[in-house]
């Protein structure tokens, strides 16, 4: 058996570990082990590649070592240093890097090549297209999440026409490039792909970010699979395709949690052009922290409903502290988590786990909704659309049909909010005008710690 065969055997081993790893990542008990298994698979694939290249005398030791050390160092430091609140941004960045990496691999294969082989040409074209969209799309998502640019949907007339024209341009340039091999056309394909990635994500608003992040994750896998076709390498195809399809499943889960189709998220420009729903009657009733304390002191069943606002205010630690004080006071405390609360899938779970909230207290939407009438106080911490009753009551509302956490059915609702303005999506939240809702204005973190202090006194 020669080195090439051993290398391919090692790739099979790596593929098995990736498959087992992803499967185990889907279950709470085995998730950590699964992640480690898949990292061992990656190590095997890298070592096999390095050894295989070296055995053929085709390894550029210096550059490969430098690249691995440099990339590994940057990856390690950023992964260690990032705060859990910065998680969505980091995931977006890593996504983008993976996509750009695949694009560059595709480009490298044909750099300096004049005569392009037809199949390889198509594979390179697909790699650049998917990798480019993943890269700039993730960068725009990152910029929106990190608030480097406005998070709301950016739309203009003719947007869809422009995107269609970009795609046609990609097809034309790609076809011409494959037949002529002219580098200028290749650069045009790269440039158009990068522009398309930007155009695809800017019309998508912040509230839809969980879907976008999940989808970009799927794309980064597909880009790697396409790169696998370029260099005729099975392990790239298997691993990339697994990520692509399992990422798609997560994307679909996110879409279902918003009762929308993927097409609607991507092309619907939610909240920008749609109607604003019916007018609301009633007024918002404010409540002071002191008065809120008296209500909470008597409460026996309390549910926290966290949203993106909790992440912004970094209020997860004080929320947990208040939760403990309420428990000591004899109340049952739960945390109701909507699947699309926050800016990435599972965002709220990550934050609350960081604050050391017990796993049993984190409840899925359906479980809490079943007993909502028994809840004395529901505390909405920076959540908005996911608790908006318009989703089930107002057929003209753009979010009509989206499953929500039915806090309006609780005895009393405390809505913690920074100011009186509309939320992120620009929609009026009819919850705030309900008779059983009390608004507590101010920074969520200060409000919660104010409540906690009252309990301590």
């Amino acid at each position: 058996m020669d080195f090439v065969q051993i290398q391919n055997l090692a790739y099979i081993g790596a593929s098995i570990l990736f498959i087992l790893g992803i499967k185990m990542l889907g279950k709470a008990d085995t998730a950590r082990k699964g992640n480690r298994l898949s990292s061992i698979g990656m190590l095997i694939a890298v070592v096999a590649t390095v050894v295989g290249q070296a055995s053929r005398g085709e390894l550029h030791w210096g550059m490969v070592l430098a690249g691995l050390v440099l990339g590994g160092g940057i990856g390690l430091v950023s992964a260690r240093k990032v705060a859990m609140t910065g998680m969505p941004e980091l995931v977006a960045l890593f996504n983008g890097f993976g996509g750009l990496g695949s694009l560059l691999v595709g480009w490298a294969e044909v750099a300096g090549v004049i005569k392009i082989d037809g199949f390889t040409g198509v594979a390179v074209w697909a790699t650049i297209l998917i990798g480019g969209i993943t890269f700039t799309g993730s960068m725009v998502a990152w910029a929106k999440l990190a608030e480097k640019i406005g998070g709301s949907a950016v739309t203009f007339s003719g947007q869809k026409v422009l995107n269609a024209a970009l795609f046609v341009g990609l097809l034309v340039c790609g076809g011409l490039w494959i037949s002529t091999g002219s580098p200028g056309l290749l650069y045009a394909v790269i440039a158009l792909s990068l522009v398309l990635g930007v155009m695809a994500v800017i019309p998508i608003g912040g509230g839809d970010m969980p879907v976008v992040i999940a989808l970009l994750n799927s794309c980064s896998g597909l880009a790697a699979a396409a790169a696998g076709f370029v260099i005729a390498n099975n392990v790239l195809i298997v691993a990339g395709c697994l990520v692509g399809t399992s990422g798609l499943i997560l994307t679909v889960i996110m879409c279902k949690a918003m009762n929308r189709t993927l097409g609607n998220v991507l092309f619907g420009s939610f909240g920008a052009a749609n109607g604003a729903g019916a007018a609301v009657e009633g007024e918002m009733k404010a409540l002071s922290v002191e008065d809120a304390f008296y209500v909470l002191e008597a409460a026996r069943d309390v549910v926290f409903v966290p949203g993106y606002g909790m992440a912004v205010a970094q209020a997860q630690h004080v929320v947990k502290e208040l939760g403990e004080l309420l428990t000591e006071n004899g109340a049952e405390v739960r945390y109701a988590i909507h699947p699309v609360a926050g800016r990435m899938p599972g965002h709220m779970n990550v934050l609350l786990a960081e604050a050391d909230v017990a796993y049993e207290q984190l409840c899925e939407m359906d479980d809490v909704n079943a007993t909502m009438e028994m809840v004395d106080v529901a505390i909405v911490v920076g959540a908005n659309d996911v608790v908006n009753p318009a989703a089930i009551e107002d057929e003209t509302s753009p979010i009509y049909g989206m499953p929500i956490i039915n806090v309006h059915r609780a005895q009393t609702v405390f809505a913690l909010k920074r100011g009186k303005g509309a939320g992120f999506s620009g929609l009026v939240n009819t919850l705030f005008f309900r008779d059983n809702t009390r608004m507590i204005y101010g920074d969520a973190k200060e409000t919660i710690s104010g409540l906690a202090n009252q309990f301590k006194e």
């Binding site: 889907g26 690249g67 940057i74 995931v91 993976g98 260099i231 005729a232 790239l236």
Partner: protein
Amino acid sequence: MDPSTLILLLFVFTLAGFLGFELIAKVPSQLHTPLMSGSNAISGITVVGAIIATSTMGDSELGRWLGFAALVLATINVVGGYVVTDRMLAMFRKGKK
């Protein structure tokens, strides 16, 4: 690339695609982020292509440097993705007690 190689690769791609759809079904929302960042690390498998590109590809100086850039980016993706996922899952375990 000759057609028989392509067909073999398409064969692998198709099977892996179906496998991916079957692999995870009902994922608790608790695991959405780790599943995403963990599988994201796997998509850094393109590091394999980058190593090959850095070493040999096209035998052009440009191709080599493109490969090197890809190698750095993909390695960030791989190492960062795995480490951050492990960190998160360790946190969940602690919360579970």
